[in-house]
């Protein structure tokens, strides 16, 4: 029973982190329908930028987080306006290829600059363990879970309650109608991609303080993020959280009770099963197939 509780706690914590790392993709893939294979690389860039500013420059953690968010937002906006805007409306192939090209470029340029060594973001939170009955969680992980929950909530409110959020939803439902009612759709696309990139970078930096920031992990991050988004349903934030938690918990239990070798296959198996049974995910709303 103790093992069960501990695995459940681990699963919940890791699941929240999965939800956090997939948050940017929920916007870009879930809402905008851009199959963004550079998501993991933006995460990596965020992590590496966070490491270099906190560890090499010695900047404050939260100041660094602000810098990371700002620079990735600018980067994301530029990527959208200079690259994505040119292939918009041509189906998914050009975007997939474009983001794959971008991810190859980012990964290998990062490798050239910082090398293959795993680096760690300097964290202000103590790594001391906290005991809740039989369950042990480190303090830093608990703080990060809280920060993740706050970020997810903030983005949810942004999408549901603000004018920008409303124009985003309008644009991705019917960009022509949105344009006719006076929304600058080109700007909206740019801002959404910028927000997605900023969230990916923030996740990379936050999780880089617990795990590692490494140039080569981008592919894995992208794949897991796609798994989370599809499990939860496209563009649904509640779904992203649930998708992340399902993935985290099933991986934790599989790793704890079964073999650890196939842990990474769980997510893919879940996605295959999910797309067969409910192609729109647990929380997806649409009935037609895209």
């Amino acid at each position: 029973m103790d093992l069960f509780l501990q695995l459940l706690a681990n699963g919940l914590v890791i699941g929240t982190f999965y939800a956090l790392s997939a948050l940017g993709l929920t916007l870009v893939f879930g809402l905008m329908r851009v199959v963004n294979f550079a998501h993991g690389e933006l995460y990596v860039v965020g992590g590496l930028l966070g490491w270099s500013l906190t560890d090499l420059v010695g900047l404050n953690f939260f100041l660094t987080l602000a810098v990371v968010i700002f620079s990735l937002a600018v980067g994301g906006y530029l990527i959208d306006r200079l690259l994505m805007a040119r292939v918009r409306g041509q189906g998914e192939e050009p975007t997939i290829l474009l983001t794959i090209g971008l991810s190859i470029f980012l990964t290998n340029t990062a490798l050239l600059i910082v090398g293959t060594a795993p680096e760690r973001v300097v964290s202000p939170f103590a790594n001391k363990p906290l005991f809740f009955g039989p369950v042990v969680i480190t303090q830093s992980r608990l703080v990060l879970v809280a920060i993740s929950a706050a970020l997810i909530l903030a983005v949810h409110l942004l999408i549901q309650r603000t004018t920008l959020g409303r124009s985003m939803r309008a644009t991705f439902q019917d960009s022509m109608a949105a344009q006719l009612s006076g929304i600058r759709t080109a700007q909206v696309y740019g801002f959404t991609f910028a927000l997605g990139a900023a969230l990916a970078g923030a996740a990379g930096m936050l999780l880089g303080s617990i795990y590692v920031a490494q140039a080569t992990i981008g592919d894995v991050v992208s794949l897991k993020a796609f798994v989370v988004v599809i499990l939860g349903g496209m563009g649904s934030f509640a779904g992203a959280i649930v998708g992340g938690l399902i993935l985290g918990i099933s991986e934790a239990f599989w790793g704890g009770y079964m073999s650890s070798g196939y842990v990474d296959a769980i997510g893919f198996g879940l996605v295959i099963a999910m797309l067969l049974v409910r192609p729109y995910g647990l929380f997806g709303k649409h009935a037609e197939r895209a």
Partner: protein, 319 residues
Amino acid sequence: MIFERNCLWGSLAAALLAPLLFPNQYALHIGVLIMFSVMLATSFNLIIGYVGEFPLGHTAFLGVGAYTAALFSSRLAMPFHVAVLAAPLVAALFGLVIGAITLRLRGPFFVIVTLCFAEVLRLIANNWIDLTNGPMGISGIEKPVWATAGDALQQKMAYYYVGVLLASLSLFVAYRFVYSNIGRAAIAVRENRFVAQSIGISPFYLGLVTFVLAAGIAGLAGGFYANYVSFVGPEVFGFSFMISMIIMVLAGGKGTLVGPVVGAVIVVLLEEYLRDFKELRFSIFGLIVMAVVLFLPRGIMGFIARRHESYPRGATGDA
């Protein structure tokens, strides 16, 4: 159609004569890689160009073919031709199962779910150590008699011509398929799914036939590759083969049979040429990929075909 056929015959002639111009081991090695890539690109192109879906996990079939050939020759001690024939058959079987599941989905869902299958297969190859030897891979795959006779140059030459044979076989099958009734129906589905359905074409069935054929060709390429490098590891399921495949087909021009051939030649030569740039080469490669998407959206053959079509039909005498 005639333009395309002439281009293919021209490529075959060039492929047969090329060793006379460059009779050295390095050039022949590149030639073998080109033949392998032509098979892969042709296979990928059948799905992306004629079904119109984007199978991001197409390396699944390359890997299944490679492992089948490796296991047949190392575990069962089968000769080369049996192993290389078994590879496309087993891969096609996998294609049938995976296609039957994935072709019910479309767009981004199809993209991700095919990728999931490739990843699951990669993890199995990595973890089922009794069968696949795990991350160590299967090495020492026995080479056929013709590949061990003579000096190193003659061995490479033999592999090259077997490669040309298999690649032309793949292209011949693809050509007959594309210009058959099934191929025309597939194009109808790609152009307008609903019109095609309204005249009695079943998109799912057509997609599945094409998927199985493409899987078989990818398996053939995998079997040939396994025997040529005489080693197979889990990285045959990896993303790097996928990336080269995509770039070959989209740079060459999808939906044409010549395009992937041109793309394969260009990508293999480009990868070799970029070796001079050492670590910088992958970054440059990424930039080239983005440039192709932005500036050559229909690929090189798409560009040439448009030029070709723009001539008045009667004047050139071919229609």
